[in-house]
């Protein structure tokens, strides 16, 4: 059974700081996705990672995938308040399974 584990589950950081969110999964897969969810809203796709070593960047967020380690990271650079949200990783092995989410709060 596929398990997807994110850590940390809660993250409070100050503006301008850097941090990394980790996503580990238990079964071989080379398809991993990152989503963002704002309070009361649905999920919005951030990144699609489809191969070992894939790296994608959008603004202050950068995602990478290491399929051998079964690990993806979402790195936040110089955080700003607008990045406050819950971030989910999801692994695609015939279906799509999600981690528990990381609730990020960026404080001034």
């Amino acid at each position: 059974e596929l398990k997807v584990e994110q850590n940390p589950l809660f993250l409070s950081m100050q503006e301008g700081k850097n941090y990394t969110i980790y996503c580990n999964y238990s079964t071989t897969s080379d398809r991993l996705y990152w989503y963002r969810q704002d309070p009361g809203k649905s999920l919005e796709s951030l990144f699609v990672l489809l191969s070992n070593g894939a790296v994608k960047q959008e603004g202050r967020l950068m995602a990478s995938l290491d399929t051998k380690a079964r690990l993806s990271t979402l790195h936040i650079t110089a955080a700003v308040h607008d990045l406050s949200a819950t971030y989910f990783c999801a692994v695609d092995v015939n279906d799509m399974r999600f981690g528990a989410g990381t609730r990020l709060t960026v404080k001034p």
Binding site: Y33, Y35, S42, L50, A90, N94, D95, R97, F98, A100
Partner: protein, 113 residues
Amino acid sequence: DVKVTQSSRYLVKRTGEKVFLECVQDMDHENMFWYRQDPGLGLRLIYFSYDVKMKEKGDIPEGYSVSREKKERFSLILESASTNQTSMYLCAAGRGALNTEAFFGQGTRLTVV
């Protein structure tokens, strides 16, 4: 962009009622999913479908069934609603063969009283 539309944003039902949650997508995607989202548990897969009339159980199918009679529509059915099915329900659609991400509907917050 893919549009995924769920029939209701908020729903209140009584225990024992049969409940239908409808989801429609407009981009001809093969895969459709139903998840429930609860605080601290993330999204848990209830059922998914990879083609018309095809369905597969997810992690928590008990108490639910699904129907996919047309490619664009995927329905979640609570045969006899119970209070522990109070949750946010999210529908998603994705193009399985081309490895694209899934697109989500706005969610249905169901309260069973």
